[in-house]
Amino acid sequence: MTITGSSRRPGQTPSTSAVRQLVLLAFAFLSLFPPLLILSTAIRTPEDVRTAPFDLFTSFSVENIAAAWTRANFSEYFLNSVLLAVPSTVLVVVLATAAGYAFARCAFLGRDLLFYAMMLGLLVPFFTIMIPLYFQLRQLGLLDTLIGAILVLTMTQLAFGTFMMRSFFIDIPNEFEQAARVDGASEWQIFLHVMLPFVRSAAGALTVFAFLQNWNNFLVPLLYLPGGEYRPLTAGLYLLASGRTLDIGPLAAGSLLTVLPVIAVFLVAQRQLLRGFMAGAVKG
């Protein structure tokens, strides 16, 4: 996909071109300003932040970051974020790929009904079920456990993931499957060795997308990990931000620690991310 637009440029007059560039610059500035404010506040000296909280880049120190990491529990929150986001992302990709294949290419009794039941997950906002889910997790003994939160996080991405993977599996021509069958491959081998390689990049896109969603998720850990032992960055930040003694420096540093992995993944994998969005959004 080329993003550069048409090669045939409409004859732009210099003035509209300048206005265009100005509008784009203004919105780019607007988009980048809040993240820059976080960065700036995180890396100024604590005294500087105290006297002039939101001035930009007036000093440099890693003191806030060190304080957030060692004193404000953010090293622990960071680890918990990893422990929640990584397994749930792996689960989403594995389960959605398997189910996507089943719904796309295997005819079995009740398939359409099951698929529609699953797609309800795209229609119903999470908070519609968040209240009963709380009591259900409590009853199952999964409240305040890593496994409970991981399974719920997985569920939040599973309908989208399955839908996306299914649309990629549908597009694979039948000939490849038939050729493998003539060669004596079993159904399981066809799935593993013939079909899976076709959707490798789609699965990569889903991995990026699901990871960001799981890493950023705020409500699941806040509600279902109330004890604090497994609290991830997002919930930790929220509690710090809504606390009585507001210390802006560590709050900024904590925010920075939360978004750094997001920005890294975003910059490295933005192509895949976009693919995921387009696949889920446009193909259906």
Binding site: P10, T41, A99, P125, F127, T128, Q136, F266, L273, V282
Partner: protein, 305 residues
């Protein structure tokens, strides 16, 4: 010979069906346990006056839904949701389309702009909320700083702390976090627009706006409707950003159905009523989803046929 081949086909079909069931089972089991079952529970809870504590939930039929009709808070929250849905959907669509067309029709540094616009969309809501709370800060915030700098001191205020401005301040944050999504998707869709038609319209004397509305927009209509659906449904179920930035306050100025449902269930111990409210949001958004989906399908068919 034919019978043998038929038997082979049947065997293959059976093997495939078995594999299908096996592959779909884990995902289905997870969805059943953590989505479908709580969804059914939500339906049941909404018919009770359960407080979350007593073992047996008292069944009250449709009383929760009747109470909603006379609960002023619900209507107030619904009005806020309506404002949110209209402005919060229209603004990202308009800004997104404008910026996407500007990028598409020949700007320098498209990739850099695309990254900049899209960044807010991937940031966690908590961090977005924190950054914007600082920007709206009554004393040190940048909104007031800028207003003071350009001589509009009179407009400076505590944006999130005052009932008149709080909802719009949070809404502006949400729009900030969303328009980049529209830009990126629209820009991708614009790559498939037939440029001959655009040129023909130009020769016929259509100005830029006419070309956009009558030539370009119809061609990306399925994508446009899809983005509309995604943002609109998000507007119905808005929760995180309001919860994080104001918690529904000050007073109840920014209360939306989502925060009111949460408050009922987890703060006021009215689990039954809170669940009924949450269910109501889904029911309200369904007609819009269905209509937009129909429209989208029609456009896709028109394009194909």
């Amino acid at each position: 010979m034919a019978a043998v081949r038929e038997a082979g086909v049947t065997a293959t079909r059976r093997a495939k069906a078995r594999l299908g069931v096996l592959l779909a089972a884990p995902a289905m089991a997870l969805m059943a346990l953590f989505f479908l079952f709580p969804l059914v529970s939500a339906g049941y809870f909404s018919l009770t006056s359960w407080n979350g504590v007593v073992p047996q939930a008292p069944f009250v039929g449709l009383r929760n839904f009747v109470e909603m009709l006379t609960d002023g808070q619900v209507w107030h929250a619904l009005a806020n949701n309506a404002i949110w849905i209209v402005i919060g959907t229209a603004a990202p669509l308009v800004i997104g389309l404008l910026l996407a067309v500007l990028l598409w029709s020949g700007a320098r540094g498209v990739l850099a702009y695309r990254l900049a616009f899209f960044l807010p969309y991937v940031l966690p809501q908590v961090v977005i909320g924190i950054a914007w709370t600082w920007i709206y800060d009554p004393v040190y915030g940048w909104v007031n700083k800028v207003l003071n700098a350009i001589g509009l001191d009179a407009l400076a205020r505590g944006w999130l702390g005052e009932p008149d401005t709080a909802l719009f301040a949070v809404l502006a944050t949400a729009i900030w976090a969303t328009f980049g999504f529209a830009v990126v998707i629209f820009l991708a869709a614009l790559q498939n627009v037939d440029l001959d038609l655009v040129d023909a319209a130009r020769i016929d004397g259509a100005n830029a706006l006419q070309r956009l509305v009558h030539v370009v927009l119809p061609q990306i209509m399925p994508v446009f409707l899809m983005v509309t659906t995604v943002i609109l449904v998000g507007g119905f179920s808005v929760f995180d950003i309001v919860f994080i930035m104001t918690g529904g306050g000050p007073g109840n100025a920014t209360e939306v159905l989502g925060t009111y449902a949460f408050e009922n269930a987890f703060t006021l111990n009215r689990v039954g009523y809170g669940t009924a409210l949450a269910l109501m949001v889904t029911l309200l958004s369904l007609p819009f989803v269905i209509i937009l989906n129909r429209m989208q399908r029609r456009h896709v068919q028109e394009k194909a046929g």
